[in-house]
Symmetry: C2
Subunit: 433 residues, 2 copies
């Protein structure tokens, strides 16, 4: 007998089927034994009338423990008093594929650390937590569908680097056959190298590593980054238009497939955005917020409170969940962002529901200007020779962005922490399991 999905049993009334799943509840009564079995598609009640000392099925069911993996063969019957869909399975064969220990290490009262320690059980015992990865798969599939349709190349660039990458954030260092190596904080360097290779449109989905001791609900030391870079652009607006179209496609696909389920499970509506997103120069955003009582911590950027306030503002004024903040001052951007004027970069942040999910920019592609900008930032061009070399032999205008996939998932579902949007979270105190 081949395996049947539980969700399909209503069309198999009267037939003998084999169901494979986990024991989620046991009620062993004096005359009757009831076992609830779950698979990824649903749950079914197994009903057995005790037959006495010679009843092998009875003995097997009696020894079952919750969470065990079982295969149960039996006849599907209609029974209107059964709560799970009005059907039950009358077992003729019980196979215990893997017996669980009787006492599970987590329960409803477990705190976040115990839940992380036993993450696999936490996910298995709560279908809603597994559903996060259904949605994650759908998001990523939609993203790839969009970028490959637009002719982008998928690359996998090295995570092992011979020199620490450009950003100011801390990097992890390791021993590489007797010399130091570093884990890439982003594929920034390499995706620009792809552009210089004549690969005009490139994307990568892969791990990025940040050795930052941050303990907020939105930071991790390892997460999944989406990086996009495109050549022959006219200006940063080309990047922003691509980015908003990509997001619209992703959200449309997720809404069509999982919108109702997301609403039921998380009380969140998946809203497909109207394009273009509102664009507000950062200086103007700061003035708007200051007029509304915001007291900036940072002299030139937005802080988390500012990000939340500007989101409220655009939601109220424009009915948009998204806002592009543009024209970031040179002082808060890295040396390789293009500067249309000396004080302003051709860069943007994208804020969604009160949180930044993307930084993007047109890059400076002219070697001499780039060296000049590095020196102005107090950097030593010789220390970044292999980066600067990319621009000596005719690399065209280009731009792109990075986006944290776990953060997007967290915002999409309204999860309290990035930990809930990550299969196995990594933070300064969390390297297990």
């Amino acid at each position: 007998v081949r395996r049947a999905k539980i969700e399909d049993l209503h069309s198999r009334i009267g037939q003998t089927v084999r169901v494979c799943g986990y024991v989620s509840a046991l009620r062993l009564q004096r005359k009757m034994q009831f076992v609830i079995v779950n698979d990824a598609s649903g749950a079914v009640q197994v009903t057995h009338r005790r037959g006495g000392a010679d009843d092998e099925i009875e003995q097997q069911l009696e020894r079952l423990t919750p969470a065990s993996a079982v295969a149960i063969t039996g006849e599907v019957l209609r029974n209107e008093i059964v709560k799970l869909g009005g059907i039950e399975l009358i077992p003729s064969q019980v196979e215990v594929l893997a017996r669980s220990e009787a006492a599970l290490p987590i329960g409803p009262e477990s705190g976040p650390d115990v839940r992380q320690d036993w993450r696999f059980l936490d996910i298995r015992l709560h279908p809603q937590r597994r559903f996060v990865f259904d949605v994650a798969t759908a998001i990523e599939t939609a993203l790839r569908e969009f970028v490959t349709r637009e002719g982008f190349f998928e690359l996998h660039t090295p995570k092992l680097m011979g020199t620490a990458s450009e950003s100011g954030a801390e990097v992890f260092q390791l021993d590489y056959f007797g010399r130091p190596a570093y884990l890439a904080q982003s594929p920034q360097f390499y995706k620009q190298m792809a552009i210089a290779s004549g690969i005009d449109k490139v994307f990568e989905v892969g791990p990025v590593f940040r050795a930052e001791p941050s303990f907020t609900s939105r930071h991790a030391t390892e997460f999944t980054g989406v990086d996009v870079e495109m050549a022959w652009i006219d200006d940063v607006e080309d990047v922003m238009q691509f980015k908003e179209q990509m997001l619209r496609h992703m959200l449309e696909k997720v809404r069509d497939r999982y919108g109702d389920q997301i609403h039921d499970a998380y009380g969140v509506d998946v809203v497909v955005p109207v394009l273009p997103f509102p664009r507000i120069p950062l200086g103007e955003a700061r003035r708007i917020l200051q007029n509304r009582g915001w007291e900036p911590i940072d002299k030139a950027d937005l802080d988390p409170a500012g990000e939340r306030m500007i989101s409220e503002y655009v939601r109220h004024e424009f009915g948009s969940e998204f806002v592009y903040l543009t024209e970031y001052p040179t002082s808060v951007r890295p040396f390789y962002h293009m500067r249309p004027t000396p004080d302003v970069t051709a860069s943007f942040d994208l804020v969604w529901k009160g949180l930044e999910i993307t930084t993007g920019a047109q890059r400076e592609h002219r070697y001499d200007v780039l060296v000049h900008q590095a020196v102005e930032k107090g950097l030593d061009p010789e220390s970044m020779r292999s980066y600067l070399d990319i621009f000596r032999f005719g690399t065209p205008p280009h731009g792109g962005f990075g986006m944290g996939l776990n953060r997007v998932l967290m915002l999409l579902l309204g999860l309290p922490s990035i930990r809930d949007a990550t299969f196995l979270f990594r933070g300064p105190h969390r390297l297990e399991p």
Copy 2:
């Protein structure tokens, strides 16, 4: 004027267009100037008749250097004596987007190390080398299409681990906020944890790290691994059937899209395999080869010469490029492979065109058997507590495989080395660029 692709110019005769690309050749004659411009779609000749001292176009073309990035606006004319498609572009505006240094650091005589040092130029100057990544993107797209259609979840599991992973191969160690961490050699541990999470079908495409000082043409210290794991299988045959269907789908998609181009560029035919692949127990394979003069180096496995010979054998006997070698002895397999009998595992290797591309197995999912097998291999169960814990609470039967994507690409195109099938290669002596 919006950018036009060069391949589309034949339908734009008489129109003014803007072409963006790289200068691939310059012929500056006494009366005429000829510039060949390449974009990702093709090449076009720019033709200019010198106009004398006031001719700004003439001055700009005169100062061009090969490899520079340019945008040229002009009229498309038909001219049958022009070799590049019988058309030419008469420039009315020349923009130098990025000027290349006149002397390029690589040329036709450059050796493999110089080519790796200037990998981006090596790819840009040889469209055939860029084409490798067209094919790579198509392979990966086809792979994902197949697995997501089959209902697989895409996961991104941690590359940072608190304990060294199971395999005997060397691992990279790094400092993680004052304690040691290790780079994952494979997602083996985590994909089995996904199965234990109730995620019944899971795949991952991501970097794997091997701190092995191997210098062959088929090894790298970092490469892109494809990992698949599936639950509720009946036996390892389920895994092998899935795997061969996946490969057939991938090769079919690549052949349909790029078969002719691959034949023209590499002289290789993309063969869509007939299923099932031949299956030969390893012991039988060894006997077959020994009867044909093979002298094994290894007492229980195949060596590289043996892999090549068994491929020749199945090509001759069965007309197949692929062969599954099955029933590997316990002695050459890790402790977690299931053992239908004490000496034999439910595992396989897949050999394609003389090289192993996949190892797969049904995993031992019963806690007590697994602990027993670990001890038998001389391992200390306490040192792998978090791995063994996965199996204490009812993890169902499962199996899967790993596959190196760069190696598949190398074999598909008949490339001489995995370096040619990797955007930026990493080896013991190669950590740059």
